[in-house]
Subunit: 132 residues, 2 copies
Amino acid sequence: MTAEGGGVPLSERLARGDLMAKACPSREVLKHITSRWGVLVLLALRGGTHRFSELRRAIGGVSERMLAQTLQWLEGDGLVDRVAYEVVPPHVEYSLTPLGREAAEKVRGLADWIEVSLPRIVERWEEREGDS
Amino acid sequence: MTAEGGGVPLSERLARGDLMAKACPSREVLKHITSRWGVLVLLALRGGTHRFSELRRAIGGVSERMLAQTLQWLEGDGLVDRVAYEVVPPHVEYSLTPLGREAAEKVRGLADWIEVSLPRIVERWEEREGDS
DNA sequence: TACTTATATGTAAGTACTTACGGAAAGTAA
DNA sequence: TTACTTTCCGTAAGTACTTACATATAAGTA
């Protein structure tokens, strides 16, 4: 297919990222998605639209600061959609964009595996304690 | 407290983790796997056994210190197997355990998506620049 | 006698991530 | 009037992650 580049170099529009490369921009995306709270935000939003305070409650341990920060990162990458109603007190709703839904599916795959495999991993921890 | 397996309640050995819960041990596993270099180490080891220096070369930007650290985390979780030959200079080989191979597959799913989707995400970045 | 090799470890220093706390806005309830 | 609500932002402080640099090994090489 022919790409119509509105001024942007063709190479830039088609290039696939390479996470192994030190300077690849994909590293930035990886950082946002796999950040401490990024993963959990994506998981929480898989259930649909949520208000800020709902997310805060759903994700055990996040501070308001970090939740806001993380949401901004994800919004900046086009994974999360933010809708603010101009009222007081503020009312803001967050949801996944189509792009974000794709990412969230992949994250769910990993998260699910971790949750299910936890018992097996804990076993290793216990074995190691006995080693020393 | 309950360090040895013998006295640990059955429910605790079988329980599935819950990443949304603040104190769940699965959070620790998530941290190791999604750490800055953890993801890349798992990806690199998908190709098979690698020596330390090979990994260092394969993963652009890692310092020796962090690579060693990350490998220890993953080894501790039973995802990576470490075999050291008692020679000088040292010769150490790393590979994925069956458990690690499972994790690596999930990570690959996410990593692959990021690499492929990078162009679409970069578009958002460029759109935002014009916004302000 | 150095110098080089491969894989770490210890330490000091720097940077980035996180948290805690206070503040702001414009109504409503007490 | 005072308190309370929700969603942030700013600042200071703390903690964790990273890097840079030095050290150790035992044999082969210049």
